[in-house]
């Protein structure tokens, strides 16, 4: 409990964000919007890390460092994914996952 805000309400908000990302990952067919859903999922995990650090273990910094590293990995993942999307668009003129089945067995 931090100044009147219980930990459960924060966790519920981040759980909502996580499953909104999962839902978008399933519904969407455009590669860039799928990437956005992944960003939502990673961001929800970050909120959880920071909240556990602040509310349960304020004598340490572990959660914050994990969140920092997740942000770094998200940046690396986004840059590589966007390079792939641009390359696929150049070859196939479309970024819909339904049309990108050339590598499929």
């Amino acid at each position: 409990m931090l100044q009147g805000i219980p930990i459960t309400s924060v966790l519920i908000v981040s759980a909502f964000m996580f499953f909104a990302g999962v839902c978008g990952f399933i519904i969407r067919r455009n590669m860039i919007t799928i990437l956005m859903s992944i960003e939502l999922i990673l961001n929800a995990v970050n909120i959880n890390m920071v909240v556990f650090n602040k509310f349960l273990f304020p004598d340490q910094l572990q959660g914050q460092f994990f969140a920092l590293f997740i942000v770094g990995i998200a940046a690396a993942e986004a840059s590589v994914a966007i390079a792939l999307v641009i390359n696929i668009y150049r070859r196939l003129n479309s970024i819909s996952v339904d049309k990108v089945n050339e590598m499929k067995y």
Binding site: Q3, G4, I5, T8, V10, I12, V13, A15, F16, M17, F18, F19, A20, G21, V22, C23, G24, F25, I26, I27, R28, R29, N30, I32, L35, M36, S37, E39, L40, N43, I47, V50, V51, F55, L56, P58, D59, Q60, L61, Q62, Q64, F65, L68, F69, V71, I73, A74, A75, A76, E77, A78, S79, V80, I82, A83, L84, V85, I86, Y89, R90
Partner: protein, 168 residues
């Protein structure tokens, strides 16, 4: 109602509404804008729990870096006026079912579990403490993951350049 509780509800409302709009809007540039709103609200939440450094990283890297990268790639690959077709009904039902059941399950688990905070005195989180721990080699030191992630970022940068460059 205290002002910080009001602020928390405001940020939560922004996060919930904008994350729904991110995955349902039919225009791709708007989806990027709603994602930006979610990320900025998250940074506001980090400010609320007094982690200024984390909030700054969130604003600079996520809201500043990744969203700009996504908007660039949207402008390179699709027309601004392009609208998505509605998703198929079966996929829509599947997605909503997975999302709703997962959310219900995790909410149930969160509400049932009793969180026990530590009784140790809280640590003062300033830039000095973060820097010393991030580059420390002793207990609570994080220099090895720091170096590994710097190599990962270098590899991702080189890989992205090689993948995206035009062939001869």
């Amino acid at each position: 109602m205290a002002l910080n509780v009001l602020m928390f509800y405001l940020l939560s409302a922004v996060i919930v509404i904008c994350s729904i709009l991110t995955i349902t809007t039919t225009r791709i540039l708007r989806a990027a804008f709603y994602l930006l709103c979610v990320l900025v609200a998250t940074a506001g939440f980090y400010f609320m729990v007094d982690y200024q450094f984390m909030a700054g990283v969130q604003l600079v890297l996520y809201a500043g870096g990744i969203v700009v990268l996504i908007i660039f790639s949207i402008l390179l690959t699709s027309h601004i006026s392009h609208k998505f077709a509605k998703p198929e009904a079966s996929r829509l039902i599947m997605g909503i079912l997975v999302g709703a059941s997962g959310f219900a399950l995790s909410t149930l688990a969160i509400l049932k579990y009793t969180f026990i905070p530590t009784t140790n005195p809280a640590m003062k989180v300033d830039m000095q403490a973060i820097g010393l721990q991030l580059l420390g080699t002793g207990k609570n030191g994080y220099v090895l993951p720091f170096e590994v992630i710097s190599i990962l970022l270098l590899a991702a940068m080189i890989g992205a350049i090689i993948i995206a460059k035009k062939g001869k």
